[in-house]
């Protein structure tokens, strides 16, 4: 049986998230510099020119809505309120007044329109343009009212609206800087951009005019710290040492082994939070031997995801029962009755059904050939460790797994050609709509890396996008999870936890449930 060893811990952590810190009644200390660290430079500080969301954007830009760090509900940020039309094809936002961009220009409906027009324009070709779905145009209703109009309802829009891809940028700065905007970014956030030394650091300073922080902050004004530095240190070990030495104040996402050690030592405060990522074994349904659903199910039953989380990921992960990680909107707890439980007997029975017989050394064989397949993965330490654990588990069920490591761009190009039996990779997104990219037939052969085509699944994925009613939408994803667990194009493995350390003198920093660092209340007590 698959157990949920870490899940209660997770819930406790979630519950504790909001209650963390709290410096008491005295006025918070002002001034000082906060330094945090990440592993690589963002390609650009222009959200329309980056393929992934990044903390370097999140600290200086703001979105129309955000998510409450305590409840996880959508709450106002740059928009004060919003209204969804009855047919779900238009959302009207009332905008906050008195907000200024870092360059002094006013934030208004025209700025929102300019930003979204730029995001979806063919000329910009923004990687994040897909996240606005069926958005056809943005209308300025009046100076502080803006309406997003969709060709058909696009239910995941709120999950997107809070992501820095959809942050509101200063149209004046874009016009002025042109192609160099990405190195001279202008937003409305609590910190404003100051300097970028590529591959070394990004420096921000306090935005003294800031007075429009979302309601989940205690601070109603500008940040308490004067300066924020994001250091870029590519080597994991050096990053940890720089933190332990005190050069770095905040270390988000410590590597699992160091995280375990530092949690044991208890020298530094930490916050452990779930992530919206999911790691899975994708099986190419067009390629023998995994083109046989019985073989895919047998593989699923041979895998023990508890062990994957506990051994390969140092216990800093939650086993996954569904392709949708438990932290992602759309996850359905009832999925456990359809999950591929670890059951080697069942696995062998399924293989027997598919014509395999135990051969020499316990290997399952058919027509004299042993059952074996090859998994491709990145040469990332955690992926390799997971692959090795899977190899051992599958061997116990008579299945031979070969592991091949590849550099990411090569892996993605080769899976497009369908030359792989299986891949081991991860995704991360807060909404179940992400599965559209991995299973819809229109995404062949690029992101539908398992080459899976099923009209029923196509329909469910489309319904998931167009069903605005939340309860009905959840039903759609329930159905989808059942189908995917029966057909097993993926064996879901684990969703990693993130352990975020900080120095004891840094107080009142929070992470929301998607792992975003919130710094408006942050103080440095020495």
């Amino acid at each position: 049986m698959r157990r949920w060893g870490t899940f209660p811990v997770l819930l406790v952590v979630l519950a504790l998230l909001s209650g963390l810190a709290g410096t008491g009644g005295a006025a918070p200390a002002r001034g000082g510099t906060l330094t945090m660290v990440i592993g690589s430079d963002p390609p650009s500080l222009d959200p329309h020119r980056t393929p992934s969301v990044n903390i370097a954007h999140a600290v200086m830009y703001e979105t129309l809505v955000t998510v409450d760090r305590r409840t996880g509900e959508f709450i106002p940020a740059l928009a004060e309120s919003w209204e969804i039309s009855p047919d779900g094809t238009a959302i009207t936002f009332k905008l906050r007044r008195g907000v200024k961009f870092h360059d002094g220009t006013p934030f208004n409906a025209a700025a929102v329109k300019a930003t979204f027009d730029r995001l979806v324009s063919k000329e910009t070709n923004a990687p994040g343009a897909s996240w606005v779905g069926t958005l056809t145009r943005t209308d300025v209703v009046d100076d502080f009212t803006v309406r997003l109009v969709f060709s058909k309802p696009y239910a995941p829009i709120f999950s997107s609206l809070r992501i820095s891809f959809l942050a509101i940028l200063s149209p004046a700065a874009i016009a002025k800087m042109g192609a160099d905007y990405g190195q001279n970014p202008v937003g409305t956030g609590p910190f404003r951009f100051k300097q970028w030394v590529p591959n070394d650091r990004i420096v921000y300073e306090r935005n003294p005019d800031y007075a429009w922080g979302p309601a989940h902050y205690k601070n109603r004004g500008a940040p308490y710290v004067d300066q924020l530095i994001i250091r870029i240190i590519p080597d994991e070990a050096t990053r940890v040492i720089a933190f332990e030495r005190g050069d770095i104040d905040i270390l988000p996402g410590a590597p699992a082994r160091d995280a375990r050690r530092m949690m044991r030592d208890g020298k530094f405060p930490f916050i452990q939070i779930p992530t919206t990522s999911g790691t899975y074994l994708g099986l190419n349904v067009k390629r023998a031997p995994v083109n046989d659903v019985r073989v895919r199910r047998a593989i699923g039953h041979a895998i023990n995801t508890d062990e994957v989380a506990r051994i390969a990921l140092e216990g800093l992960a939650v086993p996954m029962m569904s392709p949708i990680a438990p932290t992602i909107w759309g996850y359905w707890d009832g999925v456990r009755q359809f999950a591929l439980n670890h059951d080697v007997e069942r696995s062998r029975a399924l293989l027997a059904e598919a014509g395999y017989r135990p051969g020499p050394g316990g290997a399952m064989t058919k027509d004299g050939k042993p059952l074996e397949f090859t998994v491709w993965t990145y040469a990332r330490m955690t992926n390799v460790r997971i692959a090795v654990v899977l190899q051992a588990q599958l061997r116990a069920a008579g299945i031979k797994l070969n592991i091949e490591q590849m550099e990411p761009a090569t892996l993605l190009a080769s899976t497009q050609r369908g030359e792989h039996d299986a891949i081991l990779i991860s995704y991360g997104w807060p909404d179940a709509d992400i599965l559209f990219y991995f299973f819809h037939s229109s995404r062949l052969p690029t992101t539908n890396r398992v080459h899976y085509v099923n009209p029923q699944v196509d329909k469910l994925l489309e319904d998931g996008q167009t069903t605005v009613d939340t309860a009905k939408r959840l039903e759609v994803y329930k159905q989808l999870q059942r189908v995917l667990l029966a057909e097993v194009p993926w064996v879901p493995l684990a969703s990693e936890l993130s352990v975020n350390f900080n120095q004891a003198y840094v107080q009142d920093i929070y992470y929301d449930k998607y792992g975003n660092l919130l710094l408006l209340d942050a103080v440095r007590t020495r």
Partner: protein, 306 residues
């Protein structure tokens, strides 16, 4: 001499053309494409096609290559596909850091290497000789990432003398320079030793000794200078390769050098950056070698350039 220099510089043209053509072919032969990396999972097939067109990647290969050569000849390397910064800026920004690191590492390498090599040669077949050569062997064998991390552990974490990462001050330069310099110093030490041994066996050394030249003067004045010719050429090679970037050391110490730029560019298939970095490295290599050849003349007046 001037004619020699000009002729050597003219050699650069076919060298650069050849290298740029090879790199261009290689980048296009390797699977993976910059547009897919840039657009990530969400990019639709239409978006991919559009971006390809915007970047001119949908043109035939020979057209792309010719247009690259024509623009590069005018000093225009275009913009990086990944960061959209001008490539000249990406490289120009990092060159001072890379030069600083290469010079510091070379100084460490030469200081340690020549001294160790000379000591070993003078005390030939003594415990001192064997000891230094064991140290040299260890120096060549230690992987940079390991040595770097050990130095960080000792000097940054336990002793707290030096910062582990960054590039703000000369303090940040010490650990990476020692890490990089150690492996080169070992090579230089071995070369200095064998070259010195050879020189010490020469007739003129015996003559000098017979004339009553003191041991110190003999080594510094007569032997070492003449033993330096092969050493200078290897130092030049090492220096040139350091200028092309030292990926591992840059990664471990978070140093914003050319090496990391090159590797990041390869991972994202950022063709304009890869091309430009390779060309710059080639130019640096040719220039350093030329400089080394000119240095020979200073060390040995018998060498003439024609």
């Amino acid at each position: 001499m001037l004619r020699y220099v000009v002729r050597r510089l003219l050699h650069l043209v076919p060298v650069l053309l050849g290298i740029s053509f090879l790199v261009f072919l290689l980048v296009h032969l390797v699977p993976g494409d910059p547009v897919r990396v840039m657009l990530a999972d969400a990019g639709s097939p239409e978006q991919v096609e559009r971006m390809r067109h915007q970047l001119g990647l949908d043109r035939p290969l020979h057209v792309q290559y010719v247009s690259f050569v024509v623009r590069a000849a005018q000093g225009d390397f275009g913009r990086s596909i990944h960061t959209r910064r001008p490539v000249a800026h990406e490289i120009g920004f990092r060159i001072p850091y890379t030069v600083r690191m290469a010079v510091a590492a070379t100084l460490v390498a030469v200081a340690m290497g020549v001294v160790l090599g000379a000591i070993a040669a003078i005390h030939h077949q003594s415990p001192l000789d064997y000891g230094t050569m064991v140290v040299a062997l260890a120096g060549v064998s230690l992987p940079n990432f390991w040595l770097g991390l050990v130095l960080i552990l000792i000097f940054s974490l336990y002793l707290r003398w030096l910062p582990p990462a960054g590039a703000d001050s000369w303090l940040h330069l010490i650990l990476p320079a020692i890490t990089l310099g150690t492996s080169s110093s070992a090579i230089i030490a071995r070369l200095t030793r064998s070259s010195m041994l050879e020189v010490l066996r020469q007739d003129y050394v015996r003559t000098a000794r017979a004339k009553g030249v003191g041991p110190r003067r003999l080594v510094y004045r007569h032997a070492l200078k003449n033993a330096m010719i092969p050493v200078v050429s290897i130092v030049g090679m090492q220096f040139a390769s350091l200028l092309g970037g030292a990926v591992i050391v840059e990664t471990v110490f978070g140093w914003p050098g050319i090496g990391r730029l090159a590797v990041d560019a390869i991972f994202t298939r950022d063709i304009p950056v890869i091309q430009a970095v390779v060309l710059v490295a080639a130019v640096i290599f040719v220039f350093t070698n030329l400089l080394v050849d000119l240095l020979y003349g200073l060390l040995d007046p018998r060498i003439r350039y024609a």
